[in-house]
């Protein structure tokens, strides 16, 4: 978002209450158990809801978080136990940044891994579409991985301004 658009947004809001600039963040961790897929996306939804997202935006982000968390559970730790580390940060007007980290096996070839339909787990009925969902349901996706040490997936999305203009607080 460039300065010009920011200025526009502030103009529009003058009619309502002054926007409280949200600078909130949350960190959480859960064991890499499949029951925590639902818990992780519900917790993400609680945090994201403070920005009053549209149904579509909230659903997209829940789905993206679900993909990243499931990948940790399915791929990162294999038969070991380990934790999922999640950080969510609000910045600027309405931008949310979500990081999903693990200390698992890492990814050897990130470029290959991010291809649609690519999966290293054909028997488990993984569709190979996890990264594709994350990419399509957020504005930006970064993947950093160190084989043997773990993976960090960062997703960034700027929410629309619709709700604020309609005028809640």
């Amino acid at each position: 978002m460039n300065k010009r658009i920011d200025a526009n947004v502030k103009e529009k809001r003058k009619s309502g209450r002054p926007p409280e600039k949200l600078k909130n963040e949350m960190r959480f961790e859960l064991p890499a158990l499949s029951i925590n897929e639902g818990i992780a996306r519900a917790v993400a939804a609680v945090f994201i809801s403070q920005l009053d997202p549209t149904y579509e935006e909230l659903s997209d982000l829940k789905c993206a978080v679900s993909e990243a968390v499931t990948n940790v559970i399915v791929h990162a730790y294999k038969n070991k136990t380990g934790y999922i580390y999640i950080t969510m940060k609000i910045s600027g007007e309405r931008t949310i940044r979500i990081e999903v980290r693990d200390k698992g096996c890492g990814i050897e070839d990130i470029k290959a891994a991010m291809q649609p339909l690519y999966t290293t787990d054909p028997d488990g009925e993984r569709s190979g579409m996890g990264f594709t969902v994350m990419e399509n349901f957020t504005d930006r996706l970064y993947v950093i991985s160190h084989p043997g040490r773990g993976t960090k997936v960062t997703m960034i999305k700027t929410l629309s301004d619709a709700r604020n203009i309609k005028g809640g607080d």
């Binding site: 639902g38 993909e67 009925e125 579409m129």
Partner: protein, 113 residues
């Protein structure tokens, strides 16, 4: 915001197997649903199978895996699988994988399946 427990309600009607999925379909629930649905496929070996998706509340790519996996199972047993009434949310996931080219998707507009 609590996730809703996923369920597969499976009914046989003549040569047709009607599988109604409800709740949140993710990797956690897909593991269990897969077994339940495949059990019914092997038991009944239906000519047709219809998977009603209208009551799915959440689905990620694990649901895609579940659906495409059942498509293989159906083809293996000579059944024809059709998807019924996916919500716009579920459709968004199906579209990402171009599932519409692999499997028939019907919208039920209240005129019966």
């Amino acid at each position: 915001m609590r996730s809703t427990k996923a369920q597969a309600v499976i009914v046989r009607d003549g040569n047709t197997l009607l599988i109604t999925l409800t709740g949140d379909i993710d990797h956690h629930s897909a593991k269990r649903l897969r077994g339940e649905i495949d059990g019914a496929f092997y038991l009944h070996r239906p000519k047709r199978a219809v998977m009603d998706l209208s009551r799915v509340e959440f689905m990620d790519s694990a649901g895609l895996g579940l659906i495409l996996g059942r498509l293989s199972r159906a083809q293996e047993l000579g059944s024809k699988l059709t998807l019924l009434s996916p919500s716009p949310r579920v459709m968004k996931i199906l579209d990402l994988a171009g599932a519409g080219r692999l499997i028939e998707i019907r919208q039920n507009n209240g005129k019966g399946a």
